[in-house]
Point group: C3
Chain length 229, copies 3
Amino acid sequence: MPQDYLNEVAPALEKYSQNILQQDVWKRPELNLRDRSLITLAAMIARDQHTELKKYMELALNNGVKPSEISEMITQLAFYAGRENALNAAKVAWEIFHERHVNMKEMPAAEPVLAPVDERSEAHRLDAVQHLFGNTGRPLARYTTDVLFRNLWLRPGLTPRDRSLVTVSALIANGKSAEMPLHLQRAMDNGLSQAQAEEMIAQLAFYIGWPNAFSAQSVATAVFNNRGH
Amino acid sequence: MPQDYLNEVAPALEKYSQNILQQDVWKRPELNLRDRSLITLAAMIARDQHTELKKYMELALNNGVKPSEISEMITQLAFYAGRENALNAAKVAWEIFHERHVNMKEMPAAEPVLAPVDERSEAHRLDAVQHLFGNTGRPLARYTTDVLFRNLWLRPGLTPRDRSLVTVSALIANGKSAEMPLHLQRAMDNGLSQAQAEEMIAQLAFYIGWPNAFSAQSVATAVFNNRGH
Amino acid sequence: MPQDYLNEVAPALEKYSQNILQQDVWKRPELNLRDRSLITLAAMIARDQHTELKKYMELALNNGVKPSEISEMITQLAFYAGRENALNAAKVAWEIFHERHVNMKEMPAAEPVLAPVDERSEAHRLDAVQHLFGNTGRPLARYTTDVLFRNLWLRPGLTPRDRSLVTVSALIANGKSAEMPLHLQRAMDNGLSQAQAEEMIAQLAFYIGWPNAFSAQSVATAVFNNRGH
């Protein structure tokens, strides 16, 4: 397959990629290159698509995402996109890290010192789960509390804002509208602005397709309106 | 892997494929072979599934879809199913086109003369977006207008009916119910009959699974009822 | 790629896999190993993910799922997850069955003696379809009746409970909430307890990601509440 296969088969798509995606979208100042790399990589892992995964993982490293942060993203996405998605991403990361002679001892520890639980926000979350599941769904609720919110989310390998960005990107990439409001609110509580959230959705549209982006913006609009009141 | 692996492992599935899918569904007169090929190929690209992609792309060519139309489908689906889906399909197209000695200069130009904008339908669409997003989501709304509805959709490489068929198939294949009504209405405005739409969903069921087909038929029923009034 | 690539790249994910998924989730008594294998394998086929497919298909055989039952699952999932998903699973099954010298004549016949139709439950289902589609969608409704409910579902290769388990797992794995209530009710009518259904969702969360599991538990809660009245 020659390098310019796309230009041969679909010159229009190549032109859109160059003129709009590369020369316009990626250069808009509303979101920096590191954030753009982080969300695009998260979306690719969440969709389990590998054609450009290596290229975009390398781009993320070049744009300031640390190898240890990619490791932590992969762990986060095992829980928010699926186990095999994470395994496939870990294989690509292994290759790149070895090519770049990354010291694998820099990877986040399996059992680091965790951040303290924010008991108020956790009580709020438990109320929402209770409202959703009532007295049913105890096994899922238990693992959600013990493994996710009292462990995974408290790991120091990613800042809370980055962890939320990665999680929201995965939800958007897979069209999981029902789970978006909680995580978009959390991302905004952790420092994501409305303009950045809108910009994130516009960039992701070019990778995950317009239908998923439109669903996401509809949910985001409701979240923004809710926060405005 | 022997050619008849399916017959060895799951003779029932092989029998359903032969007796129902090949001998019955594909031969129903309500939708012609070219349309059936177009929608099945679009669904495979939209789901990023490659096992039978080459076979069905060749079938589409044999049933009268032109290489330039496959090129244009790929560009359309980059925006309606995702970028990597389009890249993967472009690779398969590159192989087939070279095997068949297709003149690559026949591919649709990157910047052709566009059809005129239908300002009335475009105003209607902008109203719907405004209703959905309010004053938020400007970046996505801007690219939707500039790149999609004032450019991509006006390209001459596919007839409006074919472009709509491909788009609706992608939405059905990925279970994007919320985005279906607009595009199914557009397809019907562009000449798709209710009987053809129903037939499309029934055929796709065998490729994308019953759950996606049932979601699609529920949405289609609402669209049909709405048009009837 | 070394065997311990995951431990090198994401030691935390490896630790969660060992300590929670393997040592805790899989050992909970609420669901036996055969059921756990069946639902995990169904979810992988439904998501068309292949990284651990061979490993989990072998695990299913080791946990008492018969080769003929895997064959029948594949046929069922062609209709409930998609055709290519089934073809890809059939290839892996072919490999394993030949490695294990399975007698391929044990595979379920293409046209076996079918179980009798439960006309009361079938009338109830037809009412629901009529309510959903009205007078539209005849082609899909016809194949649903003739191919699925008067043929596929009556095949003897899987018990009704197992066939329902496989189907519900596929719906959960692909986030098809709208189609879940009918099939979860059917699974419970066929002997799945509420505790087993809850346990199934908690186990699947680790493979398909939390967002799909949360959607599933929300639907399941509504089904449980409905049955309680």
